[in-house]
Structures are given as structure tokens and as C-alpha cells.
């Protein structure tokens, strides 16, 4: 979005038509409220950026179907000329006409018409350039169908609009279907507008509306509308003195029949504008982040580079984009409704005064007086930026232009930035509401994203601190490595031809995150359908499983105006975290996943695991929707965002940790309850504290050896030449280790080997690879292994290797630091394994990561199982046993004195 500069933020409000009581749509679901329809249709307006159009910024829903729209605003408009009560010079009039037409043409290219053109809506910026306001009113209200009031202003309505009758009318006009207006209706309005400017007075100013309409309709019988109008308003002389070209323009605009009236594009090509169009620069849409074009191809530096640097004492805030400023305004305590109430635009009566007297059994109400506060008053209120500027007055100018190149900046930090670094330690929820902090993050991320993909690593680094909500969609795309001309790819997918999955998608969408305004709007449904279909069509080997809709929801919500990006993010997300989950037969993938998950529960929380196993409450009963939708089916969107901010930074085994963290929050209730209660508990999952969940899952993740979550059905190693390995040269290596997948590492002899599902299911504790053991025990010096020292120092789990071979074997060679607890499985009379006394020696090490080594894996597994039964956390088994270690030559023989 363009910078604020000298623009203001303006807000206006209106009501959507209320729905009749308890009416259902054809699908049997309640109708969508009109305000939500409008909210959905509004979104696209945010993407319409043109210097002649006022930028739309935001829309919000209030009580009782109220909507408040925020847009770029200027105090000056064409009414100023009318206040002077004298004609505008012909040249100025032509200039204004040209600029209005530019705006109209751009809108028409996006399939929109203004329909509410009037002097109040033609704003003038400080340089006197035209900015059209409320240009999206007709579009967002679906041609006026979703509001009670007519769109447009009586004296500027084109004759055909009047002839078609108002959208909401009773009597004989009701039967006709509402007709949408074309671009030419605006040309008529422009004609009237210009006429008024040229003669310096308003038409039909003090006349009853109905008379005005009659007059306009009668113009059809006249030959020369301009002259008739001039005669009627007694300004024939003024008209006669106008230059011929302007008169021709007026005549062309004020053609009664639309077929004879030109469109805005045609008018722009008229010779009358010849000299103006030569002078004005033509507007080029900036190239988006994801496109095949070169973003900086047209970058031009001024000849004198110092001219860029001389903006001393400038208002840096106004150089930020409009939506950023508005976002900060809201954070700094801006309240739209309050501003409107202060300006007396919102006049609500106390609710007790508007109660109806009688409600019938079908919900019809009677005895409620007409409430005047519901009438349309569309005047725009300027939102004062004082409070925001005051809040940000201490932010240094440098903060608006952070340097990205040297990452370990040694520049002296200003006071504000040191304050900010203390903010980082505050909870996320507080940081997201902190104006200064968000300003910093927004500025930083804006710059980083502009440099994407070159600054990809830097984005990763900063995303680990937090992600500013305003840029979450793009940052996620960056984290998922979305690149290239996604729009072209998306356009190339056939999203229209019916496919068999359509029915299921149609059923699922109206049930997916519908509490959210965007996703429940009809526009949201359309986009949902298109993105889902595009994914299904473009992945012929995969199928639509219920849950894909939930998975799509966060991406669609964040990239509502960019379906292609939503699609690209989803397509990048699924192979990373849900590889092959959407196969037609996905049972082996899911079964393996759930088994690893139950091993993770046993690994981190043996007590809970023992209890759940005892009552038979296995993950299959509750965790499938968790993982299949990556928790999007379980949590509301705002929680998903915080969860995924971290999830996207982790690798594909991170979801296990989230799962365990959720279980831990419910631990007390689960432990206290039996099977039935647990089922009930999970059927309606209680509130989960998501920040705690994220914190704990990171902690769990750090305790989990990489290979413990090995799955043979996970995504196979990426081929070289893929994005991540390309960038590894500049990527600092810790990141690779922490955040890339186990599967991404080259497979060696010491890696884990696939197990059959039945074997895997039989084991309570996870296995880890010899590699991991070597790494965790630091058996090899840091010199020739790829783990950097830095990582070793930060929070490496304390490990204890338990060798359960016989003492003789142990003495022949073992891992340094390991302890020997000889163990041969023995069973008591009841068939239960006997608890052996040596285990008690382990109690001193409770809490450490315990790796069980043996030459017989079976024994090791049994030993580990016993430890878990005794509630030892973090027990795992060395995959392949001690034999794997033998080949490494890392076993040591104890010195003779022992």
C-alpha cells in the first residue's frame, strides 16, 4: 500500500439491511448476515491502489449490523468550489474531469463502477489532485442489495439508473430483478458534476427529490440536454461562453441513452484531453513480491543522490504505508466507534428505549418504533493521529530505517531500542499490543520482505523472536519458501470444471471456522472453494480428506486477497508437515505417525502414558484430527496463528511436541478420569493456554533427540538444488540443525533403519540412532562433526547411557560415561517381568535422557518398557544396539585399575 504522506485517515459508517427472523438458505443453514457479506466483498477493495482513488484500509463490524469503513481521506473536495459560488476555469474543469476519468477507468478495469459520484466524493489532496472517495460502495454492497438505502445521490443519478428503479422497492417494481449498473452511469454523473463546476452552481439543489427524478427522466425527449439544463437553471450565458471542446465533452457525458454515451476509457482517448494526458504520468502497478518480473527493474535514483538525504525533521511516520499507520493507530488506543460517536455520526438510543412490545411465536416483533439512528449518514470523519504521534514521538528517526546488512550491528543503540529489547522478554500478547514495538517490527519486516528471498535467513532469524501480525501472511510464505510467479501457476489451474470432490468441499466449507467474519462471508466461501479445488486438481496423487478445509483456513484468512499465495503456502506446507497424509490410503502413514506420537508421550510423560494405555485411550481416538489438520480443527484462528508461528520454524517432528504439550495441560483431568470421561473431554476440548502450549512444546522439542521421531513414511530427503541446501552457504549452520528435518541429513550407516509398523507399535519407547547418541554424548570431538560448538553449549540434554549387557561384555568395550546394569529378562509367576533391584541405582539419574544399550535390541526394549512403567521419563533405546557402535571405533575399554 502507498505511504500515508499528507493524506488523512477517514471513517464512515452505515448499516447493512437486517435479515428477517430465522430464515434459512437453500442449504438449510442460517443466512449470512448482510454485514458479513459486505465485509467479504470489501476485502478486494484493499488491493485497489491508484493515485486517483482513495485507498481503502479496513472495515469493521459493530453491533446490530453496523459497518465502519476506514479509508484514505482529505478534507478538501469539490464542494469547496461550490462554496465559492463561481464557475471554475475551463482548464481546471478539464483537469478535474481527466483525473476523475483516470480513476474511473482504473476501477472499470477491476470490474467496478462508482455509482456514487458527487462533489463530496471527489476529494482534492494538497496539490489539488483528484482522489475519488467511496468508489467501492457500490461494489461492497453488491450493487446496493445488502443495504436498505439507495447508492448514489439523487441529482447525480443517470437516467437509466432511475428507470430501473431502486433495488429495494415495493409494489410494481419489486418483480423486476435488480440490474447492475455499467461504467457509463458514472459518465453521466461526471457530466452533471462538470456542468455544475462550469456554471458554478448546483443543479436541482433545493428541489424535492421526486421532482428532480422526473426532470432527469424527461430529459430523454430533449435534443440538447446541456442547453435545457442551462436554461432551467438560468445560466445559459455562462454555458455559451464555455470553450467548444468543453461543451462537446459535456454533451458527450450527458447523453440520455447509454448506448450513445462513451465509456470512461473512450473519453480518456478524446482529443480534448490531448494536452493533459501528455503531461500526466501514467500509473504503473508496482510489481508484487511473488512475480516473474524484476521488482527493481524500474528503480531510478535521482541524479543528485544527496536530495534523498535532506529530509531533516521530516514526519517519518507519514512515510509508512496507510494500513501500517492505521494498524498502529488502533494499537495506540484508536477506537472507531468512539470517534464517530464524538462527531455525532453514531447516535444510538439506549437499548431499553428501543425494545419491542410483543414477540410472536415465529419471532416477529411488534410495537417497535422506527429508530432514526439507523438512517444513513455517510459523512466521513477524520481520525486524529495526534494520539499515535504523541505515542511515537520518542522513536528516533533511525528506527524507521534500520540497517539490514551488518547483522551484528555495533552501532550505539539509542534509548528506545534498549527499551525495546526489554520488551522482547514480555509475553507475546503484550508485545502484539505494544505500539512502539510493533512499529519497529513492522518497519524491520517490511524491509526484510522487500529483500526476500535474498534476506530469507534474516527473516528466519527475526521470526524466531516473533512475527508482527500485520505481515504474518507474507512472513509465513517466506518461511515456507514460497517463490516465483505463483499467480501464473495458480491461474493455470482449472478451478471451475466440476470434480467429484466438489460435493464434499461444498458441505465442509460452511462448517469450517465460521465464527470468523471473513471465512463465513460468501466471498470467503468462494475463495475457499477455489483454493481447495486448485489444490486437489494440482495434486492428482493426493485426495481431499476432511480436514483439508481447516488446514486451508489460516492461509486463506491471512492471504484473503491473494488466493494464489494461499494456495502456494498450502502446497508448501503439506509436504513439509503432512507428507502423504492425504493419500487415498493414508492408514500406514497415520498409523506410524500415531505410534511415534504415543512413544513421544511415553518418552516425555510416562505417568500419563501408563494411565492412558491402561484405560485404552489411544491416540487414534483423539489425535487424528489434531495432526491431520495440524491443530487447525481444534483451535480458533487466533490461537492457530501463535501456534503456527512456532510450528513453521520447527521441523516435521515439532507437531508431536505440540501434541504432548496439549496433553500435559489436560494432564490432571486425564489422570483423574476413566475412558468415558476422557472421550467426553476431548469431544469438546477445553480451553488451552496457547502461549504455555508453545513454550512447553519448544522445551519438549529440545529434549527430544532428532532421530527419536524418525518415520519411514516421512518426506524423503530433499534433492540437492532445493532452496534450503542452496542457501546453506549463507545460512548459519545452527539453524539447519535445529530447524531442518532429520530426514534432510544424508543417510549414513549410523542412521535409523525403518521398522515394521507392528514392531514399532510393540515398543513403548522411541529408538534413537547411533548418530544421535554420538552427538549427545559428545563422543567425537566437535572438530570433525557438523554440530557446531555453539549448539552444544546451549541446552543440550543431559544424557545417561545405560549398558545392559553382561559385565564381561561391558568390560570388553563400552561407551565412555555409560553405566552398566546387567539385565536379562526374567518373569515372575504372574508372567509380569520382575523388577530387579539394580534399577534403583538409576533413580539418582531420574530426569536425564536415558539411552538403553544392548547387544540384543529386544532386551533393551523390555528394559526400557520397565523403566517407563516405573515412570522414568525420557527413556529411549539405541537403534541397532551396541553393535552399531562397534564399527565406529568409539568404544573404550576401561583402564586396568577398575
Amino acid at each position: 500500500m502507498k505511504p500515508l504522506r499528507d493524506a488523512l485517515l477517514g471513517a464512515f459508517t452505515f448499516f447493512a439491511s437486517p435479515l428477517p427472523h430465522d430464515v434459512c438458505g437453500s442449504n438449510g443453514l442460517p443466512l449470512t448476515p448482510n454485514s458479513i457479506k459486505i465485509l467479504g466483498r470489501f476485502q478486494v477493495l484493499k488491493t485497489i491502489c491508484h493515485p486517483r482513488l482513495c485507498q481503502y484500509v479496513d472495515i469493521s463490524r459493530g453491533k446490530h449490523e453496523r459497518l465502519v469503513v476506514v479509508a484514505e481521506h482529505y478534507e478538501n473536495n469539490l464542494m469547496n468550489f461550490h462554496k465559492l459560488c463561481k464557475p471554475v476555469s475551463p482548464d481546471r474543469a478539464l483537469q478535474i474531469a481527466y483525473e476523475i476519468l483516470e480513476g474511473l477507468e482504473f476501477m472499470n478495469n477491476h470490474g467496478m463502477v462508482h455509482r456514487a459520484l458527487c462533489p463530496q466524493n471527489v476529494l482534492l489532496d494538497c496539490e489539488g489532485n483528484v482522489k475519488l472517495a467511496k468508489f467501492g460502495f457500490y461494489h461492497m454492497t453488491d450493487g446496493g442489495a445488502d443495504v436498505d438505502f439507495p447508492i448514489g445521490y439523487a441529482s447525480y443519478l443517470a437516467p437509466e439508473v432511475i428507470a430501473q428503479g431502486p433495488v429495494h422497492s415495493s409494489g410494481s417494481f419489486q418483480s423486476k430483478t435488480p440490474c447492475l449498473s455499467g461504467p457509463k452511469t458514472d459518465v453521466w454523473s461526471l457530466g452533471i458534476l462538470l456542468f455544475e463546476l462550469c456554471v458554478g452552481r448546483r443543479l436541482w439543489h433545493n428541489i424535492e427529490n421526486s421532482e428532480c427524478f422526473k426532470f432527469i427522466l424527461n430529459l430523454g425527449c430533449m435534443d440538447d440536454i446541456v442547453t435545457v439544463l442551462a436554461e432551467e437553471h438560468g445560466c445559459l450565458e455562462v454555458i455559451k461562453e464555455l470553450p467548444e471542446n468543453l461543451l462537446t465533452l459535456l454533451r458527450k457525458c450527458l447523453m440520455f441513452f447509454p448506448s450513445k454515451r462513451p465509456t470512461p476509457v473512450q473519453l480518456l482517448g478524446e482529443p480534448v484531453f490531448g494536452h493533459i494526458s501528455g503531461l500526466t504520468e501514467h500509473f504503473h502497478q508496482p510489481i508484487s513480491l511473488f512475480s516473474s518480473g524484476l521488482r527493481s527493474a524500474h528503480l531510478q535514483l535521482p541524479d543528485d543522490i544527496t536530495s534523498l538525504c535532506k529530509d531533516e525533521g521530516k514526519d517519518y511516520l507519514s512515510e509508512r504505508a496507510i494500513d501500517e499507520v492505521y494498524y498502529l493507530w488502533c494499537l495506540a488506543g484508536g477506537d472507531l466507534e468512539k470517534e464517530l460517536i464524538n462527531k455525532d455520526i453514531i447516535r444510538s438510543k439506549p437499548s431499553i428505549c428501543t425494545l419491542s412490545k410483543l414477540i410472536l411465536d415465529d419471532g416477529q416483533s411488534f410495537g417497535q418504533g422506527r429508530d432514526r439512528s439507523f438512517l444513513l449518514d455517510d459523512s466521513t470523519v477524520t481520525l486524529s493521529l495526534c494520539q499515535l504521534k504523541n505515542r511515537l514521538k520518542d522513536v528516533a528517526g533511525e528506527a524507521y530505517y534500520p540497517l539490514l546488512e551488518d547483522e551484528q550491528s555495533n552501532l550505539p543503540q539509542s534509548n528506545s531500542s534498549s527499551e525495546l529489547s526489554s520488551t522482547v522478554s514480555l509475553p507475546l500478547i503484550i508485545r502484539e499490543r505494544d505500539t512502539e514495538y510493533q512499529l519497529m517490527r513492522i518497519v524491520l519486516f517490511d524491509r526484510l520482505l522487500k529483500a526476500y528471498p535474498y534476506k530469507k535467513n534474516h527473516i528466519w532469524k527475526e521470526a524466531r523472536v516473533d512475527i508482527p501480525p500485520l505481515f504474518r501472511g507474507l512472513v509465513w510464505a517466506a518461511l515456507l519458501g514460497v517463490e516465483g510467479d505463483i499467480q501464473a501457476k495458480y491461474n493455470g489451474i482449472d478451478k471451475d470444471t466440476p470434480i467429484p470432490t466438489d460435493r464434499q468441499i461444498e458441505v465442509d466449507i460452511p462448517r469450517c471456522h465460521q465464527y470468523d467474519e471473513l471465512l463465513s462471508s460468501p466471498q470467503g466461501h468462494v475463495k475457499f472453494r477455489r483454493v481447495l479445488k486448485a489444490w486437489v486438481v494440482s495434486h492428482p496423487d493426493l485426495v481431499y480428506w476432511q480436514g483439508l478445509d481447516s488446514l486451508c483456513a489460516p492461509f486463506l484468512y491471512l492471504n484473503f486477497n491473494n488466493e494464489a499465495l494461499a494456495y502456494a503456502c498450502m502446497s508448501a506446507f503439506i509436504p513439509k508437515y503432512l507428507y502423504n497424509f492425504f493419500l487415498k490410503d493414508n492408514s500406514h502413514v497415520i498409523q506410524e505417525y500415531l505410534t511415534v506420537f504415543s512413544q513421544m508421550i511415553a518418552f516425555h510423560d510416562p505417568e500419563l502414558s501408563n494411565h492412558l494405555n491402561e484405560i485404552g485411550f489411544i491416540p487414534d481416538l483423539y489425535a487424528i484430527p489434531w495432526f491431520l489438520t495440524m491443530f487447525t480443527h481444534v483451535f480458533p484462528l487466533h490461537k492457530i496463528f501463535h501456534l503456527w508461528d512456532t510450528l513453521l520454524l520447527g521441523n516435521s517432528s515439532f507437531p508431536f511436541c505440540i501434541g504432548v504439550a496439549i496433553l500435559q495441560q489436560l494432564r490432571d483431568r486425564l489422570l483423574a478420569n476413566g475412558f468415558n470421561e476422557c472421550i467426553l473431554l476431548f469431544s469438546d476440548l477445553p480451553e488451552i493456554d496457547i502461549e504455555r502450549c508453545v513454550r512447553e512444546s519448544i522445551n519438549l522439542f529440545c529434549w527430544t533427540p532428532k532421530s527419536a521421531t524418525y518415520r519411514q513414511h516421512a518426506q524423503s530427503p530433499k534433492t540437492t538444488g532445493d532452496g534450503s541446501s542452496n542457501s546453506s552457504s549463507s545460512f548459519d549452520r545452527t539453524n539447519i540443525y535445529l530447524y531442518s528435518d532429520y530426514q534432510d541429513f544424508p543417510k549414513t550407516d549410523l542412521s535409523r533403519e525403518p521398522l515394521r509398523l507392528s514392531e514399532l507399535k510393540a515398543e513403548l519407547s522411541p529408538r534413537i540412532s547411533a548418530e544421535d547418541l554420538i552427538d549427545l554424548c559428545e563422543l567425537r570431538g566437535s572438530s570433525h562433526f557438523k554440530t557446531p560448538n555453539k549448539r552444544a553449549k546451549v541446552g543440550k540434554p543431559k544424557i545417561l547411557a545405560v549398558d545392559i549387557r553382561s559385565p564381561e561384555d561391558f568390560n570388553r568395550g563400552h561407551i565412555s560415561g555409560s553405566i552398566n546394569i546387567p539385565y536379562t529378562p526374567s518373569f515372575g509367576a504372574d508372567g509380569e517381568p520382575v523388577v530387579f533391584p539394580a534399577v534403583t541405582t538409576l533413580s539418582a539419574y531420574r530426569g536425564r535422557l536415558i539411552v538403553v544399550l544392548s547387544n540384543m535390541v529386544k532386551n533393551a526394549v523390555m528394559f526400557a518398557t520397565q523403566l517407563v512403567k516405573m515412570n522414568y521419563p525420557r527413556v529411549c533405546v539405541l537403534d541397532g544396539g551396541i553393535n552399531k557402535m562397534k564399527v565406529t571405533g568409539l568404544l573404550t575399554v576401561p583402564s586396568p585399575q577398575i
Partner: protein
Amino acid sequence: MKRSKGKINVSEKDFVFEFKAGRQQCVLKIPLQFPVQDNINDLFGRFILLHKIPCFVENDLKTSLSNFIERETNENYDRISEQALHSLMNGEVDVGELTNVWAKAYCETTLEHSHPEEPSWDEDFADVYHELIHSPASDTLLNLEHSYYLNISELISERDMELKKLQERQAAEMDTVMQELGKMFSDHDVNAVASQHFDAQQVLESKWATELKQLTGIQKQEYQEWVIKLHRDLKNPNNSTINEEIKVQTSQLSEAPESSSCHYEEQRQLEESFTIHLGAQLKTMHNLRLVRGDVLELCKHRRHGSSGVKLLRLQTALSLYSSSLCGLVLLVDNRVNSYSGIKRDFATVSMECTDFHFPRLEEQLDIVQQVVLYARAQQSSKQREQPDTLEQPRPGGAEDKNKTVDRNPANILPGEFYITRHSNLSEVHVVFHLCVDDNVRSGNITARDPAIMGLRNILKVCCTHDITTITIPLLLVHDMSEEMTIPWCLKRAELVFKCVKGFMMEMASWDGGISRTVQFLVPQSISEEMFYQLSNMLPQIFRVSSTLTLTSKR
């Protein structure tokens, strides 16, 4: 859910595109529907895919396609608009009527063109009062209200005394008459005496009623004038006398507490509160409370004095014109009056104190009665217009209902309710008078019962009119009777709990998820054991949120 666009507006045109591939001359011909619904980019992508268009003509195809669509769309618009214009010029459509419809559309919906509003005294007073009650003057206001209340109760006790005296005298008289029955007096005489007594009682009652009405009228007027004056004076900062007046009044009126009201609180001791979360993904928090008590206890105005009574009163006054109102569901029969049963009791309670803001209950009911008649007239005229709707089966036997309506259009039906507003009740601003029939006493009502559907409509009104606290009689009765056994109570409570839960889930889509308080009221006469059974049932039906543990385990 797209608006049905009439068939007349849809037309089909062939898009033709020619290009050369090597020596071959190719022609692409595609029928397109106008107005075009799809995105041009998608359409284009589909063509490329479907017709295997070579990439070197892609750009040409795109320009030519978008030009074609633009041209045809404009032509389409022109055609439709001119149709409308021509039908107007042919006289098919009456110009006068059309312009009137337009003028009406503007006049009814926009502030600019609407008729200016006549200033409403009620709303002005509401603003003034709301401002004052949120100022230091609130204490004075409450004290003034209380002193008026004391006057009324004095009058009422006088009335009661006199009525009692009369009744005693009459009883004595009747006794003597009865003793002499058959001797001096005949049956006829007894009847005469009885009717004479009755008349005397009526005369006395109506005398007091007029007096009461007069007094409340005077009080209301005085009060309102005083409030306006106070407000005006407070606006004027250099007027200090009023501040003193406030002080003086405060000291005058903070008189010694009277201890008569203590027993009220003791009676209501049985109550239990729950916090619940509702919703699948996004959860809304609500508060539930189960209370054993008499429904009118929520209404009864009490004397200041005992701790909390005045605060409670202040709380109610503060929120009167706010967006957090308190509502109460009162179960009534099908007649709109206050002559019998709970209606009479409620009327008595509402009379105990002057309503300084809203019309007296009687007047409100008169208006409701008129609205009922109007609604019936509307309904029947609608039914006459659309006779086919009658044939649709309506739940609960539409025909029976219609017959009842035919019999007396002034009555309301089960499931319908009327609303009265009050400023003089202790904890309630809005009363929903929900009509129920004898059906609710039987054990087998379902979720489709009109009374239950009435509750749903009540909750809906709560959403649209900012009623954040609502009290519902859990068993759908105000008094217990013999047929209401323990299983009956449990069954009924379960039904109402479950239905209200369903409605509350629905509520999130009505108001976007606002936290509310729902109080379930059970009659005073149920046993303590029963109460605890019900309070055990509640958390099983609603998911009670987990307790917040402040100590961390690790």
C-alpha cells in the same frame, strides 16, 4: 446464495479467436455467458489448458479475450439500461409512481432526506438521567427516590390497614348475620349483605387506587422536573447552591437504617455459580447461576439500610440506560392484564414504588393489548393474501391455534411474549411475560414446545437489545404442585438446560459472542436436596471451564 439474476439478463455470445500456427490457420470459438461471472484470468487459464493453445499466442489471446469481454459486457449493460428507459418512455412504467418510489427510498433511509425527528422527551430525560447517575449526584438521586418510595409505602400500609379494618368489620357483620340465618335473615338477606360488602370493598379499593395513582403521578412529575433542574444547574459551573443542596439532602436523608429487610437475604441463600465455555473452536465464556428463590424477590424494592440494598439499587440505576440490562422471564397465562395469579402479584410489587422513567404497568399493558390486536390484524390480512401458507403444517397444530385466535384476538398464544420495562424493580429492567399453557405442568413437553421456543426468542431479543443478564424459571413453573415429583423436576431441568445450552451456542452467531449471565431460578419450595441434585446436573450438561491453577507445578 447468489441473488437470482433473471433469465432476461443472461445472454450467450461466441468468442472467436484466430491465429496462425505454422501454416495452419486455427480458429478458437468459445461460447461465453454474459454477464461473465468468472475471473478473466481463470477463464483464460482454462482455455489454455482445455484447448492446448500454443504459448506463443497466449498474450494475443489474453488481450483479445479481455477486449471481447469488456465490449460485450458494456453492450449488455447498454441493452438492459435501454430496455428500462424504453419501457419508461413507452409508458409501460408510470413515471410518477417510479419517482415516488425513489423519493420514498431516499426519505426512509437517509438522514439527509428524512423528516426531522420530533424531539422525544423520554430520550432526553434518559440522557440526562444517565449522565446524572454517573456523577456525584447519584447518591442524592437514590435518596430522593427512596424518600418517594417511603411515602408510597406509607400510603400502601395505610391502605392495607383500612382494608383490613373494613374486612374485619365486614366479617363480624357477616358472622352475626350467619348466626341469625333462618331466624331473622333469609338467604336472600345474606346475599344482599355479601354483595354490599363486596361493593364497599370495591369502592374503598378504587379510592385508594386513585390516590395511589395520583401520588405516583405527582411524584413522577416532581422527580423528573427536579432531575432536569439539577442537570441544568450542574451544567452551570458557577452555581454552587445546588452542590450544597446535594450535600444537605444527603445528610438529611441518610437516616437511621431500618432492620425490617434482613429476612429477605436469608431466604435467598441457596445459589450456586458456574463459569462455562461454549463453542467448538472459538469459545465464549458465560456465567450461569442456579438460584432457589421467589421470582418476585428479584423485583421487590426494599428499604435502604441493610448493607448492599442501596448498592444493588445503584447498580440497577447505573445500568438502566446502558448496554448491559437485566431481564426476567415471567410465565403468564394468555390474557394481557394483571388480575390474577403471578400477574397480580407482580403488579402489586411494581406498584410499591413509583416508576420515574417508564409508564405505569397498567398503561404499558394497555399499549401491549393494542399491539396484540394490531398484530392479529396484520397476521390475518397476511394469511388472506397468501392462503397457501395455511396449508403448511405448523408445529403444534396450527388449526387449533387459529381457532383460539378467532375466538379472542386480544389473547396471546403459548410461546408468545410481551415485554414491559421498569426502572423501579430491584434487580430487573426488562420483564418478558412469556405465555404458557397448562401443558408445562405435564411431564412430557419437548424441545419443540412453544414455551421453549419462546425462550429462544427471548434470548434472541437479549442479543439484539443488550440484555446481558437474564433470569429463567428453570422448571418453567413459578410454584410447585403435587404432580411435580422428583423425576418430573429432573426431567424438566434437563430439558431446559439442554435447550438453553443449544440456544446459547446459537447466540454466538447472533451477537458475535458476547459474554452473558444466565440465572436459572427454581421455586423456593423445592427441597435443598433437590437443589443440589440440579446443581450437580448443570456441569454435566454445560462444560464448566477448568479452574485456573495459580501455582505452577514445575
